[in-house]
Symmetry: C2
Subunit: 778 residues, 2 copies
C-alpha cells in the first residue's frame, strides 16, 4: 500500500498505474474533432466582437468617435478605454510566475490615453455578425497624436529615449524586493521597469583566480509561443451582475481573478468555464479578450464572443522577450568555474514584466558557481507586451551561458560534457540565489548524456557539428483542489481544477487510480469550472501534474479512509482491523472478510451513503528539473541553411507518470527551440509594425524540417511528491538554442551570438569569417 | 455555535439564516426567462425525434416496417422494441418510493411484443427536422392484432378478464415481502401485480367493541401531475460509448441509473446533466424519452432530442392511479376508534406499481388505531402506466378515511376536529405498520386548526359547507452529497446533487450559510451533473431539503474544522484554542486573535491552500409531517358547481427553513387537490383512448377558480435534523380531496364518494337525493 511519508522515495516496482502509458480519457474526443474548444461555444443571441487596434507604435489618443459605427445596422455596442475605469496600479493579480500589475494589465487590454504599440487595442465593437463588426471598426474615428517610439531595450535605456510611462521612476532593487515601484516616488522617468542584481561571493576575486576567461555578448529575438488555437472569449454579463466566461486559458481561476480585478467586481461574481485549450506554452496566462467581451455583454445584455485572427495573435499577444545578455566567465585550468559576471537586458514590451528574473535564476543553476554578479534590467519598449513562454527567460540566459561554457571548454581543451560534469550541481549545492538543492538529477543527466551513443557517434560528413547544452528549471507549484466521487459501478468521477493542456487529466487520474489500486480507466476525470471546484492555480510553471496529482493522491487517501470505516461497519469490526491494499479491503486477521473496491462501491448507497473524497494542497516547493540536449547539424556553406540531423533530449522527470507525455513534452520543447534558434522572427517595418504576421511568413518548423527527437528519461525521484514526480514541461525549451548554436560553431567555426540563425545570418557570418571579420552584429 | 448532536432540538432564536425569506439565487434567471430548461438545449447537428404510439389499448405487434420512413429524405434512424434487447425483469432500478422493475420499465418506454395502452411507444424516429420526423411516423407500418382490453381494476381482477402479462401469477404477499414475484413460479396468470395485507390487532374484536360503525365505498379517478414543462430529453451517444443526457427530471442520478440499466451499460458510461425543471410532482422520476434518444443517437452518431407534446404527456406519462377504497370503521360512544377494515384496489396502468402501499401506510397514521385490517391490491389495466404523484397514494386513502371519520362524527354527534383530537397520534403511538412515532406534530396541528378563526367563522350564506381533513406523510430520505469551496472573496461555491424543483438551492444554501455563520447571498449553489457530484438520491418524497440540507450542514462543519486548523497555524496556537463562532474565528483566551470568515478566506491561498468541504449523508428516517386543511365551499343547486370560498392549510414543517417556500408548497398542494377533487378527469372513448388530451379539455384550476390559500406553519422540530426541518412538499395534496368532499356534504347533505365532484356529478347527486335515491355510481 502506498502511504506517503515526507522525504520517502518510492521505488518504481511498487507502482501499478504510475509509469504506464494508458490512452487519455479525452483522446478520442480530440482526434474525432468532438472536443469543444473556446471558439466552439455559440449560444443563441451571441454577438460577435472585434477589436480596433492602433496602427501606431506610440501615440496619444486625443479623441475616439464611434457614432458612425453605432449607426451601422447590426452594431450593438462600442467600448473604449473610458469603459474600463481606473484600475489601481497598486493592485496585483495572479499570473504566470507570480503576480501581474492589474493597472498595466487593464491598459494592455484596452489603451487609455496612449497607444503603446501597433496592435494595441483602442476600441471594441459588438455586432450581430462578424462582418458587420469588422465593417464597424473602419467607421470608428480615432484621432492620434503620433509620438516618437523606441523599439529596442538598449535604446530605451538611453537618457534621451522616448518615455512610455510617466509613473516608472529610476531605482535599483535587489532581488527579492520584487514588484514595481509605488507611484509618485521621486525620481526620473525611465523605461527601466525593474533593475535588480544577484550577487554571490566576490566576482572580482573569482576572476583573479581564473586561468581562462571568456567574454561575449548574445542577443535573442522575440519568439511567439505559436499555439494552434487563437485567443477567444465569450462572455455573458447577466442582469444580476453575474459574469459567465467561456474561454481557453491555462487557468480559469486566473481568468476569474484577472477579469474580476479589471472589472472591479468580486471574484465570486465571475464564473469562468474552461474550454479545451489548443496550446498555451505560457501565452494563455493573462486575459486579453475576456474583459472586453464582458463589458460589451453588459452594454448589450447578450453574450458576446471575440476571437483573435492569427495576425492579432502575433501582433497583440505573446511573445517572449527579445533579450540581450553579456557574459564574462572564468575557470581554472582544471575546468572548475571561478566566476560569472553577466548583464541581462530584457525587453518587456509596452508594459513591465519581462522574464529576466527567470533567466537570472536559472542560467547558472546546473553548476557550482562560487562567485557571481548578475545585473538585470526589465525594460519597456513600444512593442506588444510579452508573455510567459515555456521556462520564461531561461532559454535566453542559457543561450548565453551554455555557449560561454563551450568557448571556455575549447580554450581549456575539455570536452563539453566533462566540463559540465566537473562543475555540476549536486544535492547540497547552494545556488547563486542562496537556495540549496535537495536531491536533484543534474549529475545523472550528464552521465546519461555521456553514456548515450549519440554523444560519441561519428558525424559522418563535412560541414557537420555537434552541440550540447544543459538546462535547469525550478518547477512551480501552488494551491490545487481535487474532488472524487465513488460511483456504484466501481468507477470514480474525478473533478479537478487544473486546465488540461497536454494530457493532464489522464496523468492526475493515474495518481488517483494508483492511490486507490484501481485501473485508470475506472477514473473519469473532468476539469470543473470556477463554481464547481475549489481554487486551483494555473497550469503553468510545470506545476499541474505535480500539484493537482498530489491533490488527487490525497483525495484517494480520503476515499480509502472512508471505505475502511464503511467496511468495518458492514463487517461489525473495528476500523483498525481493516486494511486497504491494492484496491481490496481486508480484515487483518479474518481472511474471509474481504471486499474489492468495486464490490464495496456497489453497496455504498445501501450502507450509509455515497463516498466522496476531497483534497486541497498548497505545495510551494517542487523538485527542480535538469536536462541536456545533444544535437547534430549540417550547415550548407552555399546558402547558410542549418539542417538538424539528429537530436537527443535527456531529462530528469523524477518519476515519469505517463512516459509518452513526458517524451511528448521533451520533443515539443526541442522543436519549439529549433524554431526559435533557426527561423522564427518578428520582421518590423520602421513604424514598428510587424510585417510577417501570418503563419506563412512567421516561419515555424514543420515536420519536414525535423528529425525524430530521441528522448531519454532519467528518474531521480522527487522526495517532495508521493510518487516522486517532477514537472517536465518547461525544461525542454531551455537547452535547444545554445545546443544548436554550439553545433553550428563546431560545424563552421563561427560562433552565432544572435538569433535566429537563419540562412541569411549564417551566410553572412560564414562570409565574414572567410574575410577575417567577426560576424556582423545585425 | 450550532453543533448538531443526536436528538437535540435547536430553538428558533439561535438561527440567523434559517427561517428567513431570502430571494432565491436562481430567481432572476427564472423570471427573466434565462434559466435553461430541458428543451433549451440545442447542439449543432442535433436531430429531432418523435415517437410512434399505439392507437390500441391491447394489441399484439405482429410486424413493424420502417422502410418507407427510412427512405424519406432527412430521416436518419428508426428504433423499435428490437433495439432495446431483453432487460431482465429481475433487475430493479431506483425510482420514487423505492425500486422499479427494469424489465417493465424498459417495455413501458418501448413496447415489445404487445402494445398495452393507447399511447404506448412502438417506434421512434430521428430526422433532421421535427416536421420530417412527424411525417416519418405516418410512414411506419405497424401490423397489430387487436386483443380484448380491460380498463378498470375491479374488472381486471375478474377471472375472465383479458390478461396483460403472462408472467404475473397469483399469490398473496404480506407487507414487507415487497416486489413483484419471480418469473416462472407456478400459478394462474392474473392482472393482480401485488396483493398484500396489513393486520394490526384483531379487527373483529374491534368491531364488537364499537358502538357505531360506518361502511362505504369510495372511488377516485386518474389525475395527472400537470407539470408545465413536458418531458424532454437530448442524448449524445459518442463513439467511445459514453452517453451524455440533458433532461429535466427529479433526479439525474435516477436518469443515469435507469438509462444505464435499460441500455445495459455501466452507470459511469452515462453522464446525466440536470436542466432546470418545470415541475415534476412525482411524474419525473422515471425515464420515458432518455433511452430512446440515446439509442437513436447511437444509430446516427448525432445528438438526438425528443420532446413530448402535451397530448403525449397526458396519454403516455403520469398520472396517479384511479383507486377503489372500501372502508368500515367503528368507534365507541366517546369517539375512540376501535377498528378499521379496508380494501384498497389501485390500478397501476399497464405495468405493476400503483401507490397502494403509500395509501395503506398513510391513511390511518394520524390516529391511534388498535385494530386494523387492510387488504391491498395493485392491478394492471390497459391504461398508461401510472407514476408517483405528490404523497403517492395517500390522498386516495385519506379521501376515504377522512370522509368515514366525518360520517362517524356525525353519528356520534362529535365535532370533526374533536373526534380527530380524541384519536390523535402522539409520540410513542404505534402505527398499524408497527412503527412507533417519535416526536410529531399531529396534536399541535389539530390544536392550530381548532384555534384558527376559520374553524369557527360563520359560513355566511345558504348552500355553503365547511369540511376539514387530516393528512400524514412519512417523509423520505436517502443518500446525498454536497461539496463546498471557499472563494478568496469570502463567498462559498456549493455544488450539490439534488435537482432544484421548488427553491431547493436557496434552501440548502441557507443551511450551509447558517452552519458557517455567513449571509446566504455569499453561498453560490449549483446542482452538479452526475460526473461532478457524488451520488444523490432523487428530489422526491419530500426529502431533498432535508437530506441535502443536512449534507450542506455537514460540509459546513468540514469547512469550519479546516478553518480552525488554518487559523491556529496562522496564529501559531493550538487548534483547540481556536473557536469558530458566528462566522468569526477567535482565540478562546487572546481577544486580539480574531478573524472573520471573509478575512481568512482571502488568505487561504497564501497560507496553505484552498479549503473545500465535503459531506455525504445517508439518512433513512426523516421526521413525518401532519397537516389539516379547512375548506368552505358553496354548491350551486342549479348547476352543481362547487366554488371554493375559503381555504386554510395547516402543517407541521418541523422548522420552516424558508417559510415562503413552505407556504408555496402548502398552497400548491391545496390547489392541485382542488383540481383533483372538483374537475380533473380522463375522458376515454370505448377503445380506451383519452379524448381530452389537451390542457383546454383537461380542466386544471386556474387563478380565477381559487381563493387565496391561507397557511399556518406549525413548528414541532424534527429531532432527526440539525435545524429540526421536516419535509413539507407531499403533505399538502393529501387532505384536500376529503376536506372538500366533507364540505360538499355539509353544504348539501350529499356524500360524494366518487371523484371528481364536477357539476354533472354533483347535480346528479343532488337530484337523486331530492328523488330519495342514493347518488348514482357513475
Amino acid at each position: 500500500m502506498l502511504e506517503y511519508k515526507p522525504n520517502m522515495v518510492l521505488s518504481t516496482k511498487e507502482f501499478k498505474v504510475v509509469g504506464t502509458r494508458p490512452i487519455r480519457h479525452d483522446g478520442l474526443d480530440k482526434v474525432t474533432g468532438r472536443a469543444r474548444y473556446g471558439a466552439d461555444i455559440l449560444m443563441p443571441g451571441t454577438l460577435h466582437g472585434k477589436v480596433l487596434r492602433s496602427p501606431h507604435a506610440h501615440a496619444r489618443i486625443k479623441r475616439i468617435d464611434a457614432s458612425k459605427a453605432l449607426r451601422l445596422p447590426g452594431v450593438k455596442a462600442v467600448v473604449t478605454g473610458a469603459d474600463f475605469g481606473n484600475v489601481s496600479a497598486q493592485a496585483n493579480v495572479q499570473a504566470e510566475g507570480g503576480f501581474q500589475n492589474a493597472g498595466f494589465l487593464s491598459q494592455n487590454i484596452m489603451a487609455r490615453d496612449k497607444a503603446l504599440y501597433p496592435g494595441h487595442a483602442v476600441a471594441a465593437v459588438a455586432a450581430t455578425s462578424i462582418h458587420i463588426a469588422e465593417e464597424a471598426l473602419s467607421l470608428i474615428e480615432v484621432e492620434y497624436e503620433v509620438l516618437p517610439a523606441v523599439f529596442d531595450a538598449l535604446e530605451a535605456m538611453k537618457a534621451d529615449a522616448p518615455i512610455l510611462h510617466d509613473r516608472l521612476m529610476t531605482s535599483t532593487q535587489l532581488m527579492g524586493a520584487g514588484g514595481t515601484r509605488p507611484e509618485g516616488e521621486k525620481g526620473t522617468p525611465t523605461n527601466i521597469a525593474k533593475h535588480f542584481e544577484i550577487i554571490a561571493g566576490d566576482v572580482e576575486k573569482g576572476f583573479r583566480e581564473a586561468d581562462v576567461i571568456v567574454e561575449r555578448e548574445y542577443q535573442t529575438q522575440r519568439s511567439h509561443q505559436g499555439y494552434i488555437e487563437p485567443h477567444t472569449a465569450t462572455a455573458l454579463w447577466d442582469s444580476e451582475g453575474k459574469i459567465t466566461i467561456w474561454s481557453s486559458s491555462q487557468g480559469h481561476f486566473v481568468v476569474r481573478e484577472q477579469t474580476a480585478a479589471l472589472l472591479g467586481v468580486p471574484v465570486s461574481r465571475v464564473k469562468a468555464i474552461p474550454m479545451e485549450i489548443g496550446g498555451g506554452f505560457g501565452g494563455k496566462t493573462s486575459v486579453y479578450l475576456e474583459p472586453l467581451a464582458a463589458v460589451l455583454s453588459r452594454k448589450t445584455g447578450q453574450p458576446v464572443k471575440i476571437t483573435m485572427t492569427r495576425a492579432e495573435v502575433l501582433t497583440a499577444s505573446g511573445p517572449t522577450s527579445a533579450g540581450y545578455v553579456w557574459v564574462k566567465m572564468g575557470a581554472k585550468k582544471d575546468g572548475s568555474l571561478t566566476a560569472v559576471q553577466s548583464k541581462l537586458i530584457f525587453e518587456a514590451g509596452a508594459y513591465p514584466g519581462s522574464p529576466v528574473g527567470g533567466a537570472a535564476r536559472c542560467m547558472l543553476a546546473p553548476y557550482v558557481i562560487p562567485n557571481a554578479h548578475l545585473d538585470c534590467y526589465d525594460v519597456v519598449v513600444n512593442r506588444s507586451k510579452t508573455a510567459a513562454y515555456r521556462g520564461p527567460g531561461a532559454p535566453i540566459g542559457s543561450f548565453a551561458i551554455e555557449q560561454a561554457l563551450d568557448e571556455l571548454g575549447e580554450k581549456l581543451g575539455m570536452d563539453p560534457l566533462e566540463l559540465r560534469e566537473r562543475n555540476a550541481a549536486r544535492e547540497g549545492t547552494r545556488q547563486i540565489t542562496g537556495v540549496q538543492f535537495g536531491p536533484i538529477g543534474c549529475v545523472e543527466v550528464i552521465q546519461a548524456a555521456k553514456d548515450h551513443p549519440h554523444s560519441s557517434a561519428p558525424l559522418g560528413g563535412p560541414h557537420r557539428g555537434r552541440g550540447i547544452a544543459m538546462g535547469f528549471w525550478g518547477n512551480g507549484a501552488g494551491p490545487s483542489t481535487a474532488l472524487a466521487s465513488v460511483n456504484p459501478d466501481g468507477t470514480v468521477s474525478l473533478v479537478e481544477g487544473s486546465v488540461d493542456i497536454g494530457g493532464h487529466r489522464v496523468v492526475v487520474a493515474m495518481q488517483l487510480a494508483e492511490a486507490l489500486g484501481i485501473p485508470v480507466a475506472d477514473v473519469k476525470p473532468s476539469v470543473g469550472d470556477t463554481d464547481s471546484i475549489g481554487y486551483t492555480s494555473m497550469t503553468g510553471g510545470s506545476s499541474a501534474a505535480y500539484k493537482t496529482g498530489w491533490a488527487c493522491y490525497e483525495a484517494g487517501q480520503d476515499i480509502k479512509r472512508q471505505m475502511i470505516v464503511r467496511a468495518a461497519l458492514i463487517w461489525g469490526v473495528k476500523e483498525e482491523e481493516v486494511e486497504y491494499l491494492d484496491g481490496v479491503l481486508r480484515h487483518r486477521a479474518d481472511t474471509e472478510l474481504r471486499m474489492t473496491f468495486k464490490e464495496l462501491a456497489a453497496r455504498l448507497n445501501l450502507t450509509g451513503g455515497p463516498i466522496a473524497g476531497r483534497a486541497t494542497t498548497d505545495v510551494r516547493l517542487q523538485g527542480p528539473a535538469f536536462g541536456a540536449h545533444i544535437v547534430d547539424v549540417e550547415v550548407d556553406p552555399e546558402t547558410g541553411k542549418v539542417d538538424i540531423l539528429r537530436y537527443t533530449a535527456i531529462q530528469d522527470a523524477g518519476k515519469a507518470m505517463h512516459p509518452s507525455y513526458v517524451e511528448g513534452q521533451m520533443q515539443g520543447g526541442a522543436v519549439q527551440g529549433i524554431g526559435w534558434a533557426l527561423n522564427e522572427d518578428y520582421y518590423y517595418n520602421k513604424e514598428g509594425q510587424m510585417v510577417n504576421n501570418s503563419l506563412l511568413d512567421y516561419r515555424m518548423p514543420i515536420a519536414l524540417d525535423l528529425p525524430m527527437i530521441d528522448t531519454v528519461i532519467v528518474e531521480v525521484p522527487n522526495p517532495g511528491h508521493p510518487y516522486g514526480l517532477r514537472g517536465v514541461a518547461e525544461l525542454p525549451l531551455i537547452p535547444p538554442l545554445a545546443a544548436i548554436a554550439n553545433a553550428v560553431y563546431h560545424a563552421t567555426g563561427v560562433r552565432m551570438t544572435r538569433l535566429p540563425m537563419n540562412p541569411t545570418r549564417v551566410l553572412e557570418a560564414l562570409q565574414a569569417k572567410e574575410n577575417g571579420r567577426s560576424a556582423p552584429k545585425r
